[in-house]
Amino acid sequence: MSAPHPFSVAMLLADARLPGGGHAHSAGLEPALLAGMAPADVPVWLRGRARTVSLVEAGTAVVTAHLLSHPPVGTSAQTHLSAVVDAWAARTPSAALREAAHLLGRGYRRVARSLWSHRPPVQALEAWTGPLPRAVVLGAIAAAAGLRSEDVVRLTVYEDAQTAAAALLKLEPLDPLAPAQWVLEACAAAEPHVLRVAACLTPEDIPASGAPQNEGWAEAHALLTQRLFRA
């Protein structure tokens, strides 16, 4: 059987119809709105995410893919995974956000296991006993399916923005095409950073661009009982 083109794989991963568990998440939108952010601020907030937290996730996926595709001689895949997971965790000081990423990682691991179980990068995940953030699992899928690093970055930015946009339609009444425009604007805001993030090779290279207000909102949201989304 011939392999699908990496572009087809990217479309599959970006498609909300893929049962990966993303529908339970709002990419920080519900926490932001519940904390009092005005719905009118959503476009600028999305562009801010695209230049900050999305790049941390994207860099984590890129470095994971690189290390699982080109393992230096003498080090095991588990050693690499451990270093990437530590670097990501240090860049994600919010326990609520780490937990949300682990839940998404669990869903993505099921996808990876079903579709690429015979590929060494995905097999490396099987030997890992702890939780893995989504970005690391995405990196393993990217390595298994031959996704280009630039497209891993674009996919991560798009997925984050589109997740928030889809959640917005459930939380606020508005023209459903308006958020689509904002998603594209968020992607455009990240574009100047795409090549830099795609060039990351080691865990130290992963961007650390933080968004403190998002972290505060996520922590407060995790304590609420009345919420539509997990995070």
């Binding site: 670097a87 000081p93 780490r98 661009s209 933080g210 207000q213 972290e215 909102w217 922590e219």
Partner: protein, 272 residues
């Protein structure tokens, strides 16, 4: 005001290093170097030193590169106090750098509850804080960044924090913000980012604190243990806009976003 014609470009290093006494019963050794900031040793005894940092002239100007190196040897303790806050002045966009490099030995303690660092209109500051801590090191580090003096929106700042312990990275973070671009999710409408970083868990009430052994007559100097206890207490309470983050590797990152430094709950918790 233009500073672009007379800029300093060489890094000027201020350093303070606390080392074990040379003889039993002797005080710890304190070695210092003055740069754009000068070090005044306030007092020292068998385990603890206290120093004050004093600006030697107008800092921070465009082109300035301040480096502060702090090193605390195994089992020693250091308290640093800032004598005044710092203003990164209007430099017509000429960049300036402020690097803090901290090295903490096994079981050492550092308390540095800094005064506000103001990013004035027209300043473009890159500020980095790098901490390397060995096992058992305890740290209470407060950094308050304010965008703009009264009536100003404030300049550009890139704040980089990198904390490593003996096992690997604890916190790695880069925050970019400008008084001229409010980004919801990053700082939103806040003008002040107040952060306290704590390494070491909540002190056990029975813990023998190095500072307490010799704090008699200190006038309420905050030793690392007291500061850590106050910050862990603060994290356990509920304060609007205060976020208590727990890095995966342990420790505590307390953060408050607000309109003015004096309104921060960190200010009240650490009141001397």
């Amino acid at each position: 005001m233009s500073m672009s014609t007379a800029t300093r470009t060489e890094p000027l290093t201020t350093s303070v290093s606390v080392e074990a006494p040379t003889a039993p019963g002797a005080p710890v050794q304190v070695r210092t170097t003055d740069g754009l900031l000068a070090v005044r040793t306030v007092r020292r005894d068998r385990v603890v030193a206290e120093v004050a940092l004093v600006a030697t002239g107008a800092v921070l100007l465009g082109g300035d590169h301040v480096v502060v190196r702090v090193s605390v040897a195994d089992g020693c303790a250091l308290t640093i106090t800032d004598v005044g806050g710092t203003v990164a002045y209007d430099a017509d966009g000429v960049p300036s750098l402020w690097d803090i490099i901290v090295t903490l030995g096994h079981g050492s303690q550092l308390s540095w509850l800094g005064l506000p660092f103001v990013v004035a209109e027209g300043a473009d500051v890159t500020r980095s804080t790098t901490v390397r801590a060995e096992a058992g090191a305890q740290l209470a580090l407060r950094e308050t960044i304010a965008w703009g003096r009264a009536g100003e929106r404030g300049g550009h700042a890139l704040l980089r924090t990198e904390v490593h312990d003996a096992r690997g990275p604890v916190v790695v973070e880069e925050i970019r913000a400008s008084g001229h671009e409010q980004v919801p999710g990053v700082l939103g409408a806040a003008r002040v980012l107040d952060t306290a970083l704590v390494l070491g868990e909540l002190p056990d009430p029975g813990e023998v604190a190095l500072g307490d052994l010799c704090a008699g007559g200190s006038g309420g100097t905050y030793w690392a243990r007291a500061a850590r206890a106050a910050l862990w207490d603060l994290a356990a309470g509920a304060h609007p806009d205060l976020t208590a983050l727990r890095p995966a590797r342990g420790g505590l990152l307390l953060r408050w976003l607000g309109p003015a430094a004096h309104l921060s709950p960190l200010e009240r918790a650490l009141e001397r």
